[in-house]
């Protein structure tokens, strides 16, 4: 069977890449090759930037309400194609069907949020800001923005940026993750059908070379990135050197604090979902459980029991609760962390190594893995694993839990499970993370709130989605007038 070679979308047309270099897109559950993705050339990046620049003047002059109407139509098309996009996502990324549907839903919510752009973009004004002086602040689009997407949420993460940027009047270039470009192509197909003017949205396939070309290109005004912190830091520095706006969302090490008064009947399912949903490949995944006081023993028993019952397998099977990780290389990385945990003296309560679901011998599976007797200084308690591997640390009290969270280099999310409003309030006030959950295992802000962390989890100051996105994708121009 012929494997399709993916095309770029530039200036409103699907075009073949001239590149002779390709990578294979594989189904991580089966190893099946789904497509070939070109590693596009610098000339092709330049062509996309030129198309975006050419489209910008007319698009920025299009009334915000008219721009919003494109997104109303896009929402309708994405609803129609919901199941197709979700299943494509399962095949290329390996998350379960429920998780894929949840992701597509979140992507559509971003589109829905941007249909309110006429209100979201409104500026402010003040008569008599000084004697006989009126002052108006308007939000204006800036130009061309580019987004470098990660592998773990190929439908949703690009939509944290694309609809906000474009609804604000900018034009846009997306570089999908070379590992998972397929569902983003389906979204671009929908945008093409909606009839966005040529050049307003563009897609260029590729890997590091394409990312660098976009960062260095003088025609690109801003870069949005989501991925590992080491790369985020590098992109932030590099894009700033080229005078660009940049928001680079990095990695995470997320702590889940379980207080002695927590209702374990409700807490344990939330922990399981947090830690093992999407095979732990979420920047909001719980990674370390901080069990406070006497909750340590019953909690670890119940977590191990629930995790050991998770059904691992090909995620196209609707009854499967956990799919594979993204690639063989990533599997090896996660397995190295398990080895390291053992070497450093953690106690392996549940071992996910060697899990091979029936009929999936070519897949990249790791079962839920749980370490106990973890200490904060251990590698598995400090570094981002990005897989279904967690540690449980016994702590004396909330104070100690907050200290461990504070000492960690990341600051994406943390959650507390408690029946005490006082503990929750203390946690909210003091936890040094930007997205907090109270009795919620995945503290994922919806499209109308900002998404992003602090410390080593965010390089830049403006986050994704919500008003932060409007700020990132616009300039505030202040006009000071004296006519009286």
């Amino acid at each position: 069977m012929t494997v399709e070679t993916l095309r770029n979308y530039v200036g409103g047309r699907w075009v073949d890449s001239a590149s002779l270099n390709h990578l294979e897109v594989t189904n991580p559950a089966t190893g099946e090759v789904l497509a070939r993705v070109p590693l596009s050339t610098r000339e092709e990046v330049d062509s996309a930037v030129r198309a975006a620049r050419a489209a910008y003047p007319e698009w920025r002059a299009t009334a915000p309400l008219t721009r919003a109407r494109y997104f109303f139509r896009l929402k309708d098309l994405l609803e129609e194609r919901f199941e197709d996009i979700a299943r494509t996502l399962v095949r290329e990324e390996g998350k379960t069907l429920d998780e894929a549907r949840g992701e597509v839903r979140r992507a559509i919510e971003c589109v829905e949020a941007t249909t309110g752009i006429p209100s979201l973009m409104m500026g402010t004004c003040l008569e008599d800001a000084a004697k006989d002086i009126d002052t108006v602040a308007v939000r204006q689009p800036i130009g061309v923005f580019a987004m470098l997407a990660p592998f773990n949420f190929p439908a949703m993460v690009p939509m944290w940026f694309l609809p906000f940027a474009v609804a604000c009047g900018n034009t846009f270039i997306i570089k999908p993750s070379e590992q998972v470009p397929l569902c983003q192509m389906k979204i671009l197909e929908a945008m093409d059908e909606v009839g966005f003017p040529p050049g307003v949205v563009n897609l260029v396939h590729g890997a590091r070379d394409v990312a660098e070309a976009l960062i260095e290109h003088p025609g690109v005004n801003g870069i949005s990135f989501v991925g590992r912190s080491a790369v985020a830091r590098q992109i932030y520095r590099r894009a700033a050197e080229f005078g660009k706006r940049v928001q680079a969302l990095g990695g995470a090490k997320n702590f889940l604090v379980v207080m002695p008064d927590a209702d374990l009947g409700r807490t344990v399912p939330a922990l399981i979902t947090s830690c093992f949903g999407c095979a732990g490949e979420r920047c909001l995944s719980g990674s370390v459980i901080l069990a406070v006081g006497e909750t340590y023993d019953p909690l670890q028993r119940r977590v191990v029991d629930a995790a050991s019952r998770l059904r691992v397998g090909d995620p196209l099977d609707e009854t499967v609760q956990m799919g594979p990780v993204i690639s063989r290389r990533h599997t090896e990385r996660v397995l190295r962390y398990i080895d390291q945990g053992l070497q450093e003296g953690a106690k392996l309560l549940l071992d996910g190594r060697g899990v091979i679901p029936a009929g999936s011998s070519n897949g990249y599976f790791i079962g839920a893995t749980i370490f106990a007797e973890v200490r904060p200084e251990m590698t598995i308690a400090r570094e981002e694993i990005f897989g279904p591997v967690i540690g449980i640390i016994p702590v004396r009290d909330l104070e100690e839990a907050l200290g461990i969270i504070r000492a960690n280099e990341y600051g994406n999310t943390a959650c507390i499970f408690t029946e005490s409003g006082r503990s929750a309030a203390e946690f909210v006030y003091r936890a040094e993370c930007s997205m907090l959950g109270i009795n919620v295992g995945i503290a994922a802000p919806m499209a109308f709130f900002p998404f992003g962390g602090i410390k080593g989890s965010l390089f830049g100051d403006l986050k994704a989605t919500g008003r932060a996105a409007i700020e990132f994708f616009t300039d505030t121009k202040v006009v000071i007038s004296r006519w009286r």
Partner: protein, 155 residues
Amino acid sequence: MELTTFGAVLGFAIEQERAASQLYAEASRDPRSGGLAALFSEAATEKRAHVGWLERSRREQVAEMILVPISDLRDEAFLPSPPTDLERSQILDRMIDREEAAHRFYRVAAQRIGLPEVAKLLERIAGRTASRRLVLEQGRAPFGAGGPGRHPDRR
């Protein structure tokens, strides 16, 4: 099969409603249905509506933050008998059995699903299957001769 996920539960429900809709539609076109044709046609329309509600719920109410593994729910307990070439008098009984199985499924699934909005929808459909069953039972008396029973929800 164990229905271990939100999608599996709703997928099973959608499958059953779709199959029921087809059966009712076929029965409504079967000349042997006599005076019950309108009743079957109405039931087919209702089942199609349920499919739409359930599909919409699957699209809109799945939010990754609240996915929780579902346990102790297997489809075998709620699977209706496979369709066979039934005698005229057996068709109605088979439909009533089907509604009974669906009613039990929705009641149990509503308790297991873990999402309040979806549980409400499943309870609502459970109520409608119970009503439908009553209407079908009323149809037993005039079977082959009288008109359709009246849906209790209808005004």
